[in-house]
Structures are given as structure tokens and as C-alpha cells.
């Protein structure tokens, strides 16, 4: 095998299936492997051998590799790094793509340093530069105020992690499936220096999950001015059968739990309707909600950047605006019920 040639996706499982982000990686991965005239490979690392690995073929992977080891059951950086080093030695991919998930953002950069190569995290766009054949890695910088194009000129493989929700999932096509190739790993337990000693249910986890699935989201920011504002947002969200979220100031002030933060370092959501209340529209926040189908902004400052991103805007005190809004929705539904 020629050194460093194919595109390798590091997949993740979610409820015994490939995660949504993995399916997205398979779409962009396919484009890259086409441009390079190489193959698209999928790798799934896990604590036990899974039967569902084969669905990678349906998403367009040319080959699917599975590597399982009991020491991979709980994610630890040290164990997964050992695994990835061996995988890279065996498969010699030219490009490795991770999802910019909890795991991907932890593993990709350490792997890059271990292999003495580079990486670009949280990419929004990836393409092959026609001239050099290198992977052009495009990511937002300065909180999204600018975009930066990187190439890795001094190391192999080229490593990138990709932001969730930027690419559509690869098409799922039922097709004759190949065989999953099992890779055997040697993982030295003495080199694992961290240990997961427990998990605690996050009280807010169900709220956060509801947020990810909601088609209407009512979100508050610094302009709420106090905790009372959250009650009004909740009322609107309840009426619209939606969820509540916040920008970073609303979380920092303690008005909303951290799991409900929408933005660059929080959740990235794309509901049908996003109502931004008292949110100025900093790009760090917009990174989490810009893909919403319709954005409504309610803000007392008419020069707030949020209006640049919004389809509908109201400039006024949000408490009274939402009071009128909620009344009108209630009224319309009463009429409808008659």
C-alpha cells in the first residue's frame, strides 16, 4: 500500500447506530476521497464488537474497520490515543476526519501532536486544493468574526474535526455490503493515566436533549436583565410547545443552566423558529443558531447586530412585547377551538 493515501473517518456510535455527526462526516469524506480519487474508510472504535458497523457501507464508505477492546469501553484519551496510533500505522490515511464532538475535540489535537503533524478543529468547510492536493481546512476564528484557511504542509496525516450540523448526512442507500475488517489492538493499561470513576446524571440533561429536538426555541440573553425574564420566556416556549435556551451571558449570570447554552462553545441547533430575546447577536452566539429556518429578534437596541441575522424584528422592551405576543397566541387558539 502506498503511504498516506485514503480518507479515514473516525466514527462514533450513538444508541448502537452511527451518530448523526458520523453520517455527516461520511458525506464530506466522500467528496474529498472523490477529489483525491482515493477510498473512503470508516473506523469505529468501541468497547465491544458491534453488529451495526455495516451501516457505514450504506452511507458510502468503501471500507469499514472496527477495532474493539475492553479498555475502549469508557473513553479515555490515553487508551484512544494508543488505538489511533496503531490504526494510523496500519492504514496510513492521508486525511483523518473527526466529528467536533466531546471526543473528537479531545482526541484529534492530541493525536496530531503525537504524530508530529497538524490539525484544524471545528471546521466548517473542507476541500482539496487542486494545485497542491492538500486538504484546505476552513474554520471560523475570532469567535466567527473571520474565517481562516489552513493547510498542513509539514506533517502527515492531515487531521481535521468538523462542526456538527454543517454538512447534511450522507445518503443512506441499501446496497450489497462488504465485510467489516476487524483490527486488533494492543492497549497497554499502564499507559492509561485517567479513569472514569463515575457518571452523574446532569439534572439539565433532559432539558438539553429537548432543546436539540425542539422545532421552536425561545432564547434569552443579557438583555433579559434578570432571572424573572426566564419565566416569561418559558411561558412563550410553553405556548408554542418549544424549548428555552440562552446565550452565554444568560448562563454566566446563572439565569439558565449551562446545558442550555447556545453558541460557539455550547449547543448548535437548527430549529424551524428561533426567537432571540435580549440577545445582541454576537457571532459567538450566532454560531449556535444561524442555521435556524426563521429567526425573530426582540431587542430594545435597534442597532443590535442580531437584526442583521433576523427575518422578523421588534425593537422594544421584551417583557411587554412578549406579553402581547402570548396574549395574541392564546386568543387565536381560543378562536380556533370554537
Amino acid at each position: 500500500m502506498e503511504p498516506y493515501e485514503n480518507v479515514l473517518i473516525v466514527g462514533e456510535m450513538e444508541s448502537e447506530r452511527l451518530s448523526g455527526l458520523t453520517a455527516q462526516l461520511l458525506r464530506i469524506g466522500k467528496e474529498l476521497s472523490h477529489a483525491l480519487k482515493r477510498e473512503l474508510h470508516l473506523l469505529v472504535l468501541s468497547g465491544k464488537s458491534e453488529q451495526v458497523d455495516k451501516e457505514g457501507f450504506c452511507y458510502g464508505a468503501d471500507r469499514v474497520y472496527a477495532a474493539s477492546h475492553q479498555l475502549l469501553e469508557n473513553y479515555t484519551t490515553d487508551a484512544y490515543l494508543q488505538a489511533m496510533e496503531q490504526v494510523v500505522t496500519a492504514l496510513k490515511p492521508s486525511i483523518i476526519l473527526f466529528g467536533h464532538s466531546d471526543r473528537g475535540s479531545d482526541l484529534a489535537p492530541r493525536l496530531a501532536f503525537r504524530l508530529r503533524t497538524g490539525a484544524t478543529l471545528d471546521c466548517m468547510e473542507l476541500r482539496i486544493d487542486g494545485e497542491s492536493g492538500l486538504l484546505e481546512q476552513i474554520k471560523p476564528v475570532f469567535g466567527g468574526k473571520a474565517y481562516c484557511h489552513y493547510t498542513c504542509v509539514g506533517g502527515s496525516p492531515q487531521i481535521a474535526s468538523v462542526r456538527d450540523g454543517v454538512f447534511d448526512p450522507a445518503d443512506y442507500v441499501l446496497r450489497p455490503m462488504g465485510e467489516v475488517t476487524q483490527l486488533s489492538l494492543f492497549i497497554d493499561p499502564s499507559k492509561i493515566r485517567t479513569r472514569v470513576i463515575g457518571t452523574r446524571q446532569d439534572d439539565d440533561l433532559s432539558l438539553a436533549q429537548k432543546l436539540g429536538a425542539a422545532s421552536i426555541v425561545v432564547s434569552g440573553g443579557r438583555g433579559l436583565k434578570n432571572q424573572d425574564g426566564v419565566g416569561i420566556l418559558k411561558e412563550t416556549a410553553h405556548l408554542l410547545d418549544g424549548a428555552v435556551s440562552g446565550s452565554r451571558p444568560a448562563i454566566d449570570y446563572g439565569w439558565l443552566p449551562g446545558s442550555l447554552q447556545v453558541g460557539l462553545t455550547g449547543k448548535k441547533i437548527k430549529p424551524q423558529l428561533y426567537i432571540a430575546v435580549g440577545i445582541s447577536g454576537a457571532l459567538q452566539h450566532m454560531a449556535g443558531c444561524l442555521k435556524s429556518k426563521v429567526i425573530v429578534a426582540i431587542n430594545s437596541d435597534e442597532s443590535a447586530p442580531i437584526f442583521r441575522f433576523s427575518h422578523y424584528g421588534v425593537v422594544d422592551d421584551y417583557k411587554q412585547v412578549l406579553k402581547g405576543f402570548n396574549e395574541e397566541v392564546r386568543l387565536a387558539r381560543e378562536h380556533e377551538g370554537e
Binding site: 476564528v141 473571520a146 463515575g198
Partner: protein
């Protein structure tokens, strides 16, 4: 006694208005804004707060390590006044626009020179280039374990116990020392310095090293091809007008129902 090194970066204010943000398309770097002073990366302040919380409960030395070129004294004094014991900077003109990989190499070299440490704390990423890479390089080059995006950290029995946000809830991770931990805003904002502490910090010496104090050779692994401000689109916002705020709210609701964006029934 536990020794913690907190890596802190001086950055362009992430909250500065977009309208004032400019980039140099030739040099491929931002143009320092005139009206907005630089500050400490907020996530690094979270990391310092995590270190100070450990120091609240036990004997502990907190060292701030910062790297760059001509770092402003005013920005360095604030974290010093919140309770850190010392501050070391590595400053050199060549460090002004260092990329993530080289930054990690320089910081790891500085930490090796400091020598005596148990824990390295950093922010999850710097709010300027948002690379999220530097922590990984430091840990890898020092060959120490790492735990990322922590919300809480405690030291006991020669180990560090870290709470982090996992996909399925909060993960509690135990890690041998020495170790590196990165922090997010959930750990809490950096405490305010008191006025007397600020006065005292002004008199404290900043240990300024240069590149020649550490073992550093610049590597050329990543190349910046382009840096630009994207087109954020033109405003196409339909403003709902009305006699008073409540009326505007009612009109907004009606408009969204008319346009089929929210439903008239439940």
C-alpha cells in the same frame, strides 16, 4: 504543597463589535483594534479561578504563565491580584503571531524550565484563534495525561478528580499527577481582585523571560492560506411596528401565524 501553572493568553477582546474588527489580508492576521484594549482570554480566567478554588482549601502555589510580545502590564496585574503567587512571561517579537503548534512548543519548553509543577491548567481554547489545540500540545510534549472541558477540579491523595460534561451526563474522571486540565465557563468567572490586592500586585515583580531562556525552535507544520471577514449578508429583517410594545407583540404573533411560521392550533 501542590504547584499549579495556569497558562493565560492576552487576546483581542472577544466582545468587540464586528464593525471595528479588521484583518490584514496580506499578513493574514487581525489588525489590533484602536478603541478596544486587550484582555486575558476569558477561558483562561476560568482556569485561574479553578486553581484559586484549589488554593482556597489547601497549601498551593499558583504560577501564571503567559507568552507573547510586549505584554501589557495592566492586563497581567489583574490575575496576579486575584491570588496567584507569581507570574512568568515569555516575551519575544517572534512570539507575537505564533500559531497554535508553536505556541504549545514554547509553553511546554517554559514549563520544563519552571520544572517543579504538579498541574497545568488552561482554558478550553483562546478566544482569538479558537484553535483548541495548545493544551493538547503542552500535554503531549510534557507527556502528561489530560482532561478537557472541566467544570470542577479537586486534588486529593496525589490525584486530581475532575468533573466534565460528557455526552450522557457529568463524567467524574480521576487522573494521576502531573496532569493538565482545560476549563470552560462552567467553573465560574474569575473572582474580583480587591483594591489593596491590586495595589500590591502593582508592586509585584513580573518575571519576564525571552525566547533565549527556553528551548524553542519554530516548526512549520500549518500554513495560513487566507484570513478574511465573511459576508454576513445584508439585513433583510422585517420590523414589526406598532403603537406600543404590547401591540408590537400582538402584531408579531399575528404575522408569524399569517406566514405559517407558528400554528394557530396547539
Amino acid at each position: 504543597m501542590i504547584s499549579i501553572i495556569v497558562c493565560m493568553k492576552v487576546v483581542i477582546d472577544p466582545e468587540m463589535p464586528l464593525s471595528e474588527f479588521e484583518v490584514d489580508r496580506v499578513q493574514l492576521r487581525p489588525i489590533p483594534p484602536k478603541g478596544t484594549p486587550p484582555l486575558m482570554n476569558p477561558f483562561d480566567e476560568n482556569a485561574l479561578e479553578a486553581a484559586l478554588k484549589i488554593k482556597d482549601g489547601r497549601e498551593c502555589k499558583v504560577t501564571i504563565l503567559s507568552m507573547g510580545s510586549s505584554l501589557p502590564k495592566a492586563v497581567l496585574q489583574v490575575p496576579l491580584a486575584t491570588g496567584a503567587d507569581e507570574i512568568i512571561t515569555v516575551e519575544d517579537p517572534q512570539f507575537e503571531h505564533l500559531d497554535a503548534i508553536n505556541t504549545a512548543h514554547a509553553l511546554a519548553a517554559a514549563i520544563k524550565k519552571i520544572g517543579n509543577y504538579d498541574i497545568v491548567f488552561t482554558g478550553r481554547q483562546a478566544s482569538d484563534w479558537d484553535s483548541g489545540m495548545v493544551w493538547a500540545g503542552i500535554a503531549e510534549l510534557l507527556d502528561i495525561p489530560s482532561v478537557t472541558i472541566a467544570r470542577k477540579a479537586e486534588v486529593s491523595d496525589g490525584k486530581i478528580v475532575v468533573e466534565r460534561n460528557g455526552t450522557d451526563g457529568i463524567e467524574i474522571v480521576e487522573c494521576s499527577l502531573p496532569a493538565l486540565v482545560t476549563f470552560s465557563s462552567e467553573v465560574g468567572e474569575l473572582r474580583y481582585p480587591t483594591i489593596p490586592a491590586l495595589q500590591k500586585a502593582k508592586k509585584k515583580e513580573i518575571q519576564r523571560w525571552s525566547a533565549s531562556h527556553i528551548e524553542f525552535n519554530k516548526a512549520h507544520i500549518m500554513e495560513v492560506r487566507d484570513l478574511y471577514i465573511p459576508d454576513f449578508g445584508t439585513a433583510n429583517c422585517h420590523f414589526v411596528l406598532g403603537a406600543d410594545p404590547e401591540q408590537k407583540g400582538r402584531d408579531l404573533a399575528r404575522r408569524l401565524m399569517d406566514d405559517g411560521i407558528i400554528s394557530r392550533h396547539i
